[in-house]
């Protein structure tokens, strides 16, 4: 079984990110960039499938600038066999990304596309579903457990009400949620060692046309400073005074 794992480069998900004063973008000065944490969980799951003998080849793919090589090198260190960097400096959206990924999936013919449910920068939660739609493959989103069946997968999905178990035939798109696994830690020597693995640079197969354009970025208004109380009686009075009961 071949697994394709789309990887997104995002600003450090644990950093406090602000909009630039000009409103033209995010202020990422001095911040690190990482693999989108949901994609890292997807990659970890793919590596475990290979370790269990369920998968034979893992291909990581990223659409973006040359700086994304850093995240693809790390993906190779985590356990991808091969990485593809589809180089572009264009602004992207889930429509453009899913269209491009669909073109690559048609060429690479994976049995499974495993990816994060959303990127932590844009929080859009669309690319997996759009990609599945374009390929006319079944989808299972928000996976918290994946089991290989004879010619498909049994996926436990997180839902608004709790959990749901679905069966999907392969090829399929599965998007993963936080509780699927805990990704392994890769130290720097591991990343250096993975330099011998193949990283292919390619040009986009599609026009990368976006449907949604971001006009400006702003910081939301901060909540006003609150009060501290020293006893439960004061707390009760303060809550009652707000008129929200």
């Amino acid at each position: 079984m071949r697994i394709l794992i789309p990887i997104k480069r995002v600003v450090d998900p644990y950093a406090k990110v602000r909009a630039l004063p000009s409103g033209e973008g995010l202020d990422t000065a001095g911040l690190k960039f990482e693999i989108n944490p949901f994609d890292e969980i997807a990659l970890e799951e793919a590596v475990r499938m290979k370790e269990r003998g369920e998968a034979s080849e893992l291909i990581a793919i990223t659409i973006g600038g040359s700086e994304c090589e850093e995240q693809l090198r790390k993906s190779l260190a985590i356990g991808a066999d091969k990485a593809i960097l589809v180089e572009t400096t264009s602004a992207l959206d889930p429509s453009a990304v899913s269209t491009e990924l669909a073109a690559w999936a048609k060429e690479l013919q994976p049995d499974l596309i495993l990816m994060g449910k959303q990127g932590t920068e844009n929080d859009e939660n669309q690319t997996g579903q759009r990609l599945a739609a374009k390929l006319e493959w079944p989808q299972a989103t928000f996976a918290s457990k994946i089991e290989k069946l004879a010619s498909g997968f049994q996926v436990t999905r997180e839902t608004d009400l709790g959990e749901e178990v679905v069966e999907v035939a392969q090829p399929a798109v599965i998007t993963v949620d936080l509780r699927l696994n805990e990704p392994r830690y890769i130290a720097l020597p591991g990343i250096i060692k993975a330099r011998s693995k193949p990283l292919e640079r390619a040009t986009p197969k599609t026009a990368l046309t976006v449907k949604v354009k971001t006009r400006s970025y702003a910081n939301p208004p901060a909540r006003g400073a609150g009060i501290r109380v020293n006893s439960v009686d004061e707390l009760v009075a303060a809550i009652a005074a707000k008129g929200v009961l």
Partner: protein, 296 residues
């Protein structure tokens, strides 16, 4: 021609659509996948499903049905994102996730980076939108003509087993009062007794942090935050919650946030309207006894 279709999974979804439909200001119809409301727009298409099939089995049919509308909107939820993005993918249409404001029918506001930044985005119709109801002033939907509609799922992913809706407490995303807790609640029984007791006394819902869910203290559908539910109650009582960025992303639209924490330096105090540095096990039972209107 500009026209909005509201797609609701059930009547509770539909009841949250009025504010958005009013703010967008276009003529509108509704498609109700389950339930039989007669209020919802000029036309109310009733699919009458008893169980909602998987997104990939109904998206194709819905794509054909919605293609005459300029705007197709859903209340933001996990299931609406699952379905809306699949239909948008089929139609190669624009999609706005988690809209929190409307500047014009082609310009929307949406949060990104866990709500740390608000983006203003432009999208040409047809546009799919999932919106957060708490950001739109409540408004009534109009009554209309009911049109029955058949939905026959196509082959695709199959549901083997699903959690059922639990009766009793209000839904987190619609609750007016939420009592929420973190890891200091120790175990599932303590969590239920201490938080659940106060929530029930106030007629509210119970929420949890990711840490509480990951350690098995609370079920995952109670998780509040960037990757859980986004809530906007009138009163959010955070007990033993330090206030990670991811958790705050889910609560900052609450009207009043109350923080109860032993650690006076916990970041939750920076966003709380009322804070008390104290042990939640001392405070919560007393609140239950003393808050006006609380049933004991």
């Amino acid at each position: 021609m500009s026209r909005l279709l509201l797609i609701a999974f059930d009547e509770s979804d539909l009841n949250s659509c009025g504010g958005f439909a009013t703010a967008l200001g276009l003529p509108y119809d509704a498609l109700l996948l389950s339930g039989n409301s007669t209020v919802g727009g000029e036309k109310i298409f009733q699919a009458g499903l008893t169980a909602i099939p998987t997104a990939d089995t109904v998206a194709g049919l819905l794509a054909v049905f919605v293609h005459t509308y300029s705007h197709v909107a859903f209340v933001s939820s996990m299931r609406s994102k699952d379905l809306a993005a699949r239909i948008a993918g089929i139609l190669d249409a624009a999609m706005i996730t988690d809209a929190i404001g409307i500047e014009s029918p082609t310009t929307f506001l949406r949060p990104m980076v866990a709500g740390a930044v608000i983006a203003t985005v432009d999208a040409e119709p047809p546009v799919f939108i999932t919106f957060r109801p708490s950001n739109f002033a409540p408004a009534e939907l109009t009554a209309g003509t009911v049109v029955p509609m058949g939905i026959v799922p196509a082959p695709g992913s199959k549901i083997v087993k699903a959690s059922a809706k639990t009766a009793g407490r209000p839904d987190l995303s619609q609750a007016k009062i939420i009592v929420s807790g973190g890891k200091p609640l120790k175990d599932a029984a303590t969590f239920e007794t201490v938080l659940g007791g106060l929530a029930d006394a106030l007629g509210g819902a119970v929420g949890a942090t990711r840490a509480a869910v990951d350690t098995g203290i609370a079920p995952n559908e109670l998780q509040v935050g960037q990757t859980g539910k986004i809530v906007a109650p009138n009163l959010y009582i955070a007990a033993g919650i330090s206030g990670s960025t991811q958790h705050m992303a889910g609560i900052k639209d609450s009207k009043v946030i109350v923080a109860i924490n032993k650690d006076g330096d916990a970041p939750i105090f920076e966003v709380a309207d009322i804070g008390i540095v104290a042990d939640l096990f001392d405070v919560l039972p007393q609140l239950q006894a003393k808050l006006p209107g609380a049933r004991s």
